[in-house]
């Protein structure tokens, strides 16, 4: 069976570009990943369609960030 090579998405490529710079021993890696991924998703969407409202977008991001932190018991 031929295995097809999966191509990284644009978002994945951006995330990979940060490499080890996202590692921080004093912080929760899952939460860092969550925040950076949300920020990347938002920014890629902005590239295509533009933010309807940056403040609203940031509010949504902040709320989901706090929610995630609470889930992880930070």
């Amino acid at each position: 069976m031929i295995k097809t090579l999966k191509m990284d998405t644009y978002q994945e490529k951006i995330k990979k570009s940060f490499g080890v710079s996202l590692e921080n021993k004093e912080m929760n890696s899952e939460l860092i990943d969550f925040l950076i991924e949300k920020a990347i998703d938002s920014s890629v969407a902005f590239e295509d369609y533009g933010f309807p409202d940056l403040e609203n977008e940031a509010k949504k991001l902040t709320n989901s960030f706090i929610e995630k932190a609470n889930k992880l018991n930070i």
């Binding site: 191509m7 998405t9 644009y10 490529k13 951006i14 570009s17 940060f18 710079s21 996202l22 921080n24 912080m27 939460l31 860092i32 925040l35 950076i36 920020a39 990347i40 938002s42 920014s43 890629v44 902005f46 590239e47 295509d48 369609y49 933010f51 940056l54 403040e55 977008e57 940031a58 509010k59 991001l61 902040t62 960030f65 706090i66 932190a69 609470n70 930070i74």
Partner: protein, 710 residues
Amino acid sequence: MIMIIKGISLKNFKSFYGDNEFIFSNGLNIISGHEGAGKSNLFDAFMWVLFNRISGLKKGEKLAESNNSYINDRIKNESFINSSTEPIICEVQLNVIIPEENNKEYTVIRSKSIYLNKGHEKNVFYEKNVWTYENSELIVSCKDKNYNEEEYLNKEAETKLDSIFPEKIRKYIWFQGEQLNELLDFENPETLRKAIDYLSYLSVYEHMSDIISYSHNMLENRIVNSIRANNRDKKKFDNLKQEIDLKEKAIISGKSSKLLKEKALEKLISEEDELNEKLAILAGFPELKEKEGRLIGEIEMLKEQVSNLNDQEKTLFVNKWMLKGTDDLLMKADKEIAKFINYRQNLVTENRKQLAEGVPGDQLIHDMLEKQHCTVCDRPAKKGSPEFISIKSQLDSNKVVKALDYDIEDLYEKIISLRGKPSNILFKIKNIDENVTAHKSKIEFLLNERNRKNKELDNIREKIKEIVREKGHELLNLNPTNINSTLLRVRTDKITLMRQINSVTNDIILNETKLKNLYIEISKLKKSDEINIIEEKLVRYTEFLSEVISKQTEKEKIELIEKIQNSANDIQKSVANINNIVVVFIEIDRKDYTLKFVDANGNPNPSHGAQNTLAKMSIINAIVKLSNEKKNRNYPFIADAPTSDFAMEFTDRFLESVSNTYQQSIIITKDLISNLDLYKKKGYIKKLYELQKQCTEEIALSTNSITIIK
């Protein structure tokens, strides 16, 4: 996402009369043809169907519904001559496939209908008021391989189109060669910055930075709100909070002032572009008008010269006509005069001979007797004296001498003044003949010259008419001196605004640092261990990420510029590395985007025109290539006359390089037309169309010529 243009159909659009169709392949598609064959009209068809724009419109100017200049003139003329009541439909249809989206096929159709007005006969077919129009219509429909279909009309369709073909990218991948200088100006590093901003992925990092910093501020605010509810020193808190509020207000006001200034700057930049565009439109136009004026003057002068020569010829002809019949008479007169002079000369000779021999003739003796003086011995001979008698005795000597009497001498004096005159007149008559011939050839030369200049004038007037037709009558009112002085003012204002923006940015940074310190101070007022605020932990995350993103953005920028430089130089090397051609490399400053040309050893090496063009194209191709790789997107590349100042070998290699950069490219060029058969064999050209201009005699206007696809 890969996008492939399957084909384009044109009906009565510009020089495309009736129904015409182009089918495109993956890879490089070439459309070639001589000047005026309709190549740029095909490019215009792409621009019209996708963006409702045609060439000649100014930046930001919308295509007026009343403008029907893009509808084929031949069909308009036919309809006009036949007084047809049927509508003329102009329509362009574009078919695009996106294989990754379930082979979704988009069909974009833009159409426009016009009808003849009543009473049109008083005008000419290309006048606007001859036609009534209906608003143009846009339909975007898409269907996937499962036959799911969606359709969008007009405004909705425009929005859909914008999501498929983003406006900011299109000018870099669909352009006319002559616009290249606007896209990348080596004297203006801002243009390269803009190209990188629009085409590359760097903006994603900037948006990330914006959103994280916004979120960070929100978390800080939440912390302050929690501390306000529970703090050690209420008074100090209030003071600090007041300061925080002030700083925040200052930052907000600074940001909004920066935004306003940036918008004003953008407006100035667009005004500058517009003025540059006007100057570009004018390029050559004032010279054409000047040439037209000069030719009119020269033609008038020639006309005057011909008319003077004609008058002179008339005078010469009258003179000649009057003198022509006197030829024989004059010749006879000339002979008679000569004869008389000869006769008189003989008399003189005879008398001299007689005197010399001392034997005067009767006439001389009569003279001596009358004068009572001997002419032979020069002594007096009074009447009756022996001398007198001796002279008288000679009378019977029978020696007859012809007389030189007074009448003959009188006549001789008159005749001598006439000598040469008849032959002179004859010579003049001969001269008149020569003059008339010379005049005729001079008039012929002047008439040829006038015809040549008239043709030149017609060509110039046609060019002027075409430019005015294409760019609008407003062109006639443009004044280059005024435009240049406005441009100078705009540039000065731009520099002032840029300085102000820098100063506002510095103020914002300063206030943000102060604000950060104020937050640290206010957080110290929290009653420790009594409350646990989660936001306090989270701001460390946003702070950390802000720093990481900022460093990464800088790193990405430097890496990207390096990659653009290398990739562009690779393209240049592969295109221009031909014997005897010095390859010029580009070097881009990592910080301020300034660009210089260097040789292989890094020494300054100014480029010439074609190398400049090649460098610009290579940079754009490099940015597009790198961005496509990162974004997994691939838009087709459409360019009209991108290689117009390249040598043949440059063109060849450049096209090959384009075929390697883009999944699909459509190049419209006249440069290959003389070697079409050769290019048909080139493996990297997947499709090749030839356009030809056809102009029928019965519709001989140049605007009525039509394009034939081969």
